[in-house]
Symmetry: C2
Subunit: 344 residues, 2 copies
């Protein structure tokens, strides 16, 4: 069996750690592995399959001999180092937003558009976490019944904003009576002017605002969904909200289909979809929740209902671990799909 030289760029971050764990857990065919980070994190030790590795400072020449480089160290790092890695013959799978909407760069969820991988020119982009779980749930419905419109409201976890956001939530949650006046420095956006407490709150801002009043997070969901699903005419609208949840994004999704399937037909399509688990038994109070989805690979779908007025309208509740299927797992699956397709 062919094995590969793999680099993880941003190895000490939350997603980098998860990428390492996915490579171990899925027994990815590795020849050599290299853990890269900024100079600040270089020197840290990482355990991988029983051996100890030292994190190295990323330099252009770090990518010599690398076949596959998994990037998750921020957009500016990707912009700087991804071309250097490609120049040295690596395929970069990039988890930042740096290249996602680049026409030359495939944006891939392996359950949805694996064939796009073959179009790569060195870089393959991993979509935004909230986009990935939604398209996994909707692709089987699109294929069977046609998809015209998506209106999604998200319920997003703080871990998408990094370890500092998790610590901020933890500190604030411990001081119940002081909630409105809790110290806030990280959320909604670390670099923004104003910060708001997240514990016992809901913040309708993820990422900065764009000119049209939507946030970048909302525009990512809108634009990435159209690109992944290859449908510029698909109507997509998103409202993205941060919650006091550590890990696990939830989404309330309303869709309008071309056809008017029965509820059972919709549920069956979801149940048969790869990477998706139907979790929908209201009479036994069975539905997905972030606290239960955290740490698991699947995209969980429940609360599936027909719209009461539009026979082509369906409502769903979609939950997945934003660090796993929303980031690390999807990146590793792109690498696996490349191998399966003989592209690397």
């Amino acid at each position: 069996m062919k094995t590969y030289n793999v680099a993880i760029m941003g190895a000490t971050g939350a997603v980098g750690q998860q990428m390492k764990e996915q490579l171990e857990k899925r027994n990815f065919p590795i020849n050599q592995i290299v853990f890269l980070a900024s100079s600040r994190s270089a020197g840290q030790k990482i355990e991988f399959k029983g051996e100890t590795y030292t994190v190295q400072e990323a330099k252009p020449e770090s990518f010599e001999g690398i076949d596959i480089a998994l990037f998750s160290a921020g957009g500016s790092i990707s912009e700087k180092f991804a071309p250097e890695a490609v120049k040295r013959g690596a395929v970069v799978i990039d988890n930042t937003s740096a290249f996602r909407m680049d026409k030359e760069v495939p944006l891939v969820v392996p359950e949805v558009n694996p064939a796009d991988i073959a179009q790569h020119k060195g870089i393959i982009a991993n979509p935004n976490c909230s986009t990935i779980q939604m398209v996994c749930a909707l692709q089987p419905l699109k294929e069977k019944f046609g998809l015209n419109k998506i209106v999604v409201s998200t319920y997003q976890a703080v871990s998408g904003a990094g370890i500092n956001a998790i610590n901020e939530l933890k500190d604030q949650a411990a001081d119940f009576d002081n909630a409105p006046n809790a110290d806030a420095k990280v959320l909604p956006v670390k670099s923004a002017e104003r910060h708001y407490p997240i514990a016992f709150n809901a913040i309708p801002q993820i990422d900065q605002f764009t000119e049209n009043g939507y946030t970048f997070e909302e525009m990512k969901m809108i634009n990435e969904t159209k690109k992944i699903m290859h449908d510029d005419t698909l109507s997509v609208a998103a409202t993205c909200v941060r919650l006091p949840v550590v890990t696990g994004h939830s989404e309330s999704v309303y869709i309008e289909l071309e056809a008017a399937p029965t509820l059972d037909e919709v549920k069956q399509a979801i149940a048969e979809a790869p990477g998706v688990e139907l979790m929908d038994d209201p009479s036994n109070q069975v539905y997905p929740m972030p606290l239960m989805a955290a740490g698991l690979d699947e995209v969980f779908v429940g609360r599936i209902r027909q719209d009461l007025d539009n026979p082509r309208g369906i409502h769903l509740w979609v939950v997945s671990d934003n660090l796993i299927k929303g980031a690390s797992l999807n990146s590793v699956q792109i690498a696996e799909s490349m191998i399966e397709q003989g592209i690397v």
Copy 2:
């Protein structure tokens, strides 16, 4: 100035307490006030306008001489005592779901359908908290631009499930590392078979499930909105989700209008609406949040955006205190409107 004999039924509960505070704060024209509750709570002391009152056990004869009775002690109590109060000449303003969909009972939000009050036959129903704030925000748009369709996803606070739910959230939130295994006895529904932790979670169930897969909470929003807005052809869909928020419901609302107004026209209609406050300045990160709305009277609306595909589509984020405008304040406003209209 005419004054009235007022009873609060369920005076020791969270909403009953807020009703008392609203009567004080708004200087409601009271001649005599009586605080009623079950035998379990009878004997407790309540301060009102500097005087101390003793809570009395509710009996049919408690309503002798009462002009206006504000009920918030649960549906079965309303079913038992509201007819007794009416028989004795009182007008009952009922905050439970017992009579809301009764064709003989007006369901009133004073900013939306005050004229319905005149149709009462002794009982006037106060709508569900999540319905009230939504119709306050949408009525001005319906009046100016016509309203065809509503798709709402809610982000609801635990105080709607009572003091035990608040205490459960507080206890669970204090034990961050144990979140998935936290002890849960109250939510999502106290009498239900299964209970789930609410801290660091999102539970897509409020109230029990109905036959069609929607919860009663969702069906309340759907049916009550049509009744209050006098439009059976209005398309309404709801997904209701409980969050680790103490007080303040938020709603992500997508609507389709008859007309295609500009964004400024929509914002102006919201800004001019009674009881509603426009809070929408993305460039300064100004939008409503539950932690800031708690304790305030208004319905706050922000994140107003035009749909990117449908010129008749609008997205809004609506936040209000579920115990105030969602319950106690609306009940007291119904009483005030009765007086203004000379109905009592």
